[in-house]
Amino acid sequence: MKVVLQDLVKKYPASDSIAVNHVDLTIADSELIVFLGPSGCGKTTTMRMIAGLETPDGGKIFIGERDVTYVAPKDRRVAMVFQNFSMYPSMTVYENIAFPLQALKRSKAEIDQLVREAAELVGVSALLKRGVRQVSGGEAQRVSLARAMVRRPEVFLMDEPLSSLDAKLRVQMRTEIKRLHQETRSTMVFVTHDQEEAMTLGDRIVVMSQGKVQQVGTPHEVFFDPYNLFVATFVGTPGMNLFDGVIQQSGDTLCVDLQGYMQPIPERFRATLNAKTPTPVKWGIRPEGIRFVDATDPNSLAGQIEIIESLGSRQLVFVRSGDKLFSVIVDSLHPVRQGENCHLHFDETRIHLFEAQNGRSLTQRG
């Protein structure tokens, strides 16, 4: 079922500060969309408005063609999985999963069948008779997934459901949620502050900050083509290398003066920049966009290796060049040694330019 948010506004109660600031978004049918952002960015509030747990101060919410802006949560045909709550403590696993069906006044036999199906799907069939004290945290979270699914909701809402689980279980449950989505093909909204979770799960990611949508795009787009500085710095670990620079004409070519190092501007930026020179900008490149090259390479920057951190299959190398510290990610097999001199080459296609004033990307979009 399609979900449409139209100019959604929510103020914090008892103050004038805005939690959700004019959000417009269309979530396609059977899409898995992830709201990503730091805490307090409005992602959970937006989700709670879709669930009906918060009433918007402005704007409209549609599920399918139905305007649900002021519909009670129980009548929205959505399901929600919560961050800090998984099982009703006064009920067994079976009673938990049956609970949403009892509200629908289904027959006992039908409830039994649906409960067993849902339990099967999330792998808790063996636990049906257990109470809340007899299941682990991961199992309890599975139960809450089953309870969410059993009603065949039109939209699944998940508010950081994995954040209370340990790292290994989190990765495992992540895969399960992805599988569940593929099997049920229902629309899912997933809220997280964990970019890795967002990247691996989302068909599309909605990056939010300070109540505003910063960018909506596929994980690939958000990572490789950030719309602004916030997205560029929030997505990706370690973060993008970013330096202040000024755009200047150097002979025939347009360059960024990075205070001591002239970096030619790739062709694709030139159309936007010609008129505005000289402009203060932020020049950025992800650690993955930098390579080590021989000193003979004409477009290289000399530096010295300061710190090496192993990331397993890859290694993170910090290179000092003048007053700048670059982080570089290379294959672990690449030989580097601390204190060694080296030369860096920047992959032209991986370079980003942002307006220094408002952080907007200077990449042209059609």
Binding site: A14, A72, K74, F82, Q83, Y88, A103, L104, S144, R151
Partner: protein, 273 residues
């Protein structure tokens, strides 16, 4: 960590001393309640005697304390019931919703608990006189509600606050109204808390003496107020006093024993288990 022998010895010694301090006067009282009048205050105390129920017979039947027992039961259980009916929803609202003045309201409620009954006794007396509430059951209940409702709200608010609001929100998304969610998922969880609250409130209303003395009358006098009549200026009717004390204590002890498990669960609700 297993406590050492020395530590345990100290702990048991303290428990023993405390036990003696509590139990010896109690035991002396209980024994006296069964003594015939002639040896109530004999010196040295008589330890061996044939126990008699004459003190109980005297206070219950001749002094009409069955009526006072009835009054105590009506007023205590009535006021606790009303306090729960009014206080539990209020506690829920104060735990879950922030509204204009909600914080001030809570502070005002706790301040009510700090008022010594004597402060409100005179205004109450005048009000009750004006509205013909003196010497009525309903009047006594209203007077007690001043103290019971804040206690209910403060205890229950704590229990509700311990429960993640996601619990009833989850039920609300899953097809229940807020009231339905409260009844189906929140109430079972806070039930031990409600029982503990009810018991503590019952003990307050049951044992209350001062307001009962001022605002009660011949028809509504409760057991504690009646018990005081055995302490006279000239003499204390020790046997009768202890007999009625035993009658006052017994229902609370029985209730506590019956509800012991719920009570412990309720008082430790939210504590790490």
């Amino acid at each position: 960590m297993q406590p050492s022998l020395g530590q345990r010895l100290i702990a048991y010694t303290i428990f023993f001393i405390l036990g003696v301090l509590v139990l010896v006067p109690l035991a002396a009282g209980v024994i006296t309640a069964f003594k015939p009048r002639i040896i109530w205050v004999s010196s040295p105390p008589t330890w061996i005697f044939s126990p008699t129920l004459e003190n109980f017979e005297f206070v219950l039947i001749q002094r009409n304390n069955l009526l006072h027992l009835r009054n105590s039961l009506i007023i205590a259980s009535g006021s606790v019931t009303i306090a729960l009916i009014l206080g539990v929803p209020a506690a829920y609202a104060l735990a879950r919703f922030r509204f204009r003045g909600s914080k001030g309201l809570l502070q005002w409620l706790i301040s009510l608990r700090m008022i010594p009954p004597i402060v409100v006794a005179l205004p109450f007396y005048i009000l009750f006189q004006t509205f013909d509430l003196r010497n009525t059951h309903i009047g006594m209940m209203m007077a007690y509600l001043t103290f019971l409702i804040p206690l209910v709200i403060w205890m229950m608010r704590g229990y509700f606050a311990e429960i993640p609001s996601a619990m009833e929100e989850c039920a609300m998304v899953e097809g229940y109204s807020r009231l339905g969610a409260l009844r189906k998922v929140v109430l079972p969880v806070v039930l031990p808390g409600i029982i503990a609250t009810a018991l503590l409130n019952f003990m307050f209303a049951w044992n209350e003496y001062f307001l009962a003395l001022i605002l009660g009358g011949r028809d509504t006098s409760t057991l504690p107020a009646a018990a005081a009549t055995y302490v006279g200026r000239a003499q204390v009717e020790w046997g009768n006093l202890f007999a009625i004390n035993l009658i006052i204590m017994t229902p609370v002890i029985i209730l506590t024993l019956i509800l012991r498990r719920q009570l412990v669960k309720g008082l430790s609700l939210g504590a790490v288990d």
